[in-house]
Symmetry: C2
Subunit: 328 residues, 2 copies
């Protein structure tokens, strides 16, 4: 949670920055000014939604998401660059992942353009919540869910696509590298399940194991695959990498043998893993400035913050729609 930010005034004003103690910013919910909402009836397509003041969502008690877990989320960030621009990092990729998840969970979805436009609108409508360069980022959370009432049988009559945003700092607090527990009992994703998409159903089932690991002092949990229980999968909300191993199935032994291990994600950015504990045995890895993780972190955030050239077309710059052409 971000205690410093939570009780802040949220009224719209012309000040450049919201009254946030940026240096105290953690990774947690913080109420901002505005959000985006679009609805879609069964059999129709999403039309352009609108920006509304941030507020509770009104939803049927009998809605598909509350009763049957029909929901997806996405996560991306807006960055304020040193030279005063506001940029996004590959938002089209989040749109495409949302679309594949929507197919998996039988939902209609916004187009890539609608998605990216919604994200941009939310960023602009919450501009003063974007932390100063280097002090944090604006985390953007698009959600898509079955909002119409359903009992018994399909179809779900209505779907909602909403985007809100919160300023965030670091996701993991352990600066010296994470200490992971390799989960030996609970599995997370299974063949033919929803592990390949960002379904909300992938999270609550494994909170119990994350909570247990945190209670024992671990930073996060590393899950193994459900089919064999032998191969490395991912952390609670980030992917895992081993230095000098191509993208392939990674048995636990290869992980334990690695010189360096790190995780990546929108929230986690690139974070060094200092140790993993498997069946009570702790194995340590290289940490510090000399790691590849440190180099990758620097390169990635330099691209995102605009201080290193983006040669891949990953950066999407926002211009204020209400003042065309004006840089922010």
């Amino acid at each position: 949670m971000a205690p410093s930010a939570q009780s802040l005034p949220t009224s719209v004003s012309d000040e450049k920055y919201a009254n946030v103690k940026w240096e105290e910013l953690g990774f947690g919910f913080c109420r901002t000014d505005n959000m985006y909402v679009a609805k879609c009836k069964h059999g129709e397509s999403f039309q352009e939604g609108k920006i509304v003041p941030y507020a509770d969502i009104q939803i049927s008690p009998c809605s598909a998401v509350l009763n049957y877990g029909q929901g997806l989320y996405e996560g991306l960030k807006a960055y304020r660059t040193e030279d005063g621009r506001i940029v996004l990092f590959r938002p089209d990729q989040n749109a495409l992942r949302l679309q594949s998840g929507a197919n998996r969970l039988c939902m209609p979805y916004p187009t890539v353009d609608q998605f990216v436009s919604a994200v941009k609108q939310v960023v602009l409508a919450n501009k003063k919540w974007i932390p100063p360069p280097g002090r944090g980022t604006l985390y953007i959370r698009p959600i898509l869910f079955g909002s119409g009432p359903i009992l018994g049988s399909l179809p779900v009559p209505e779907y909602t696509f909403t985007v809100f945003a919160c300023p965030v700092g670091r996701y993991h607090k352990d600066n010296a590298g994470l200490n992971l527990k390799i989960e030996d009992k609970f599995r997370r994703a299974f063949p033919s399940g929803t592990g390949g998409v960002k379904s909300i159903t992938n999270y609550s089932p494994v909170w119990i194991t994350l909570a247990e690991a945190k209670a024992k002092g671990f930073s996060d949990v590393l899950f193994l695959d459900a089919a064999t229980g032998k191969n490395v999968e991912e952390l609670f909300a980030s992917n895992v990498f081993i230095v000098k191993v191509e993208e392939r199935v990674v048995p636990v032994e290869d992980l334990l043998d690695a010189e360096e291990v790190f995780c990546t994600g929108t929230a986690a950015i690139v974070t060094t893993i200092a140790s993993v504990t498997f069946k009570e045995k702790k194995t340590e890895f290289k940490t510090g400035d000399k790691t590849l993780a440190a180099k990758l972190f620097a390169t990635l955030t330099d691209i995102q913050m605009g201080s290193v050239e983006d040669k891949k077309g990953w950066i999407v710059e926002l211009t204020d729609a209400t003042k065309p052409g004006l840089k922010l």
Copy 2:
């Protein structure tokens, strides 16, 4: 859906029955008059909630249920007996199942007494929506979910327990027995997952396979276990039984060899299965008045409707709390 019921007047009145065409009642959402709501902060216990007019729930866009699928549901029914009583069937068992699910998903939960009391209050507050004897039942849907905002890390600051109700008729429309597809690809529940509790995360991931099967004319889907893909598990929302087989692991071959097969559930009651199709091959079973399923259906509904004595203490009779001692 119950189209006849959906656009009905929902205002409270003194009439004994709501203006529903009971003979057209299907199994679907129908708006009734009142619902129950109780909230609980993290670290506290559920206090007695209250009956409020049926309305949309207000929920944080960043709530645990919308973003991470932290939710459970229950389902039970209220019956109007021939002699004018209103009864429930083993509501304490639903309370206990909700509690075990809440432990699994890291949520606080109402006590058994709070749960049963909430259910009774919802039934009494929607009395005129309970169909006449033999014309249907009042389906009661308790839901428990993480309603407080959460981003990144636990705890969830607030939980909501809500109970609403809809009059329902038959769940499966196939009177001559169900024609099932044995799902060959998609699995539903996996070891260490949430298959043992009524988590909302168990439903949306398999809608895609239910929808595909229905599009091909099947009544429902029979899932096999994730670990081996060889043993029979359950239908989308009911349990499966084979006549003369004890409670044990049931390989598909045993099912295909069975003389009679049926499914059970609050919604399904006891429903004969006429056929299953496995890898394109259809196997048929005994149907009709002479089946054990027909006898079990009659006995169970006779107990529920009060025309056969309840020797097990399963029936819980409602008396109007506002008029103590008065039978309804």
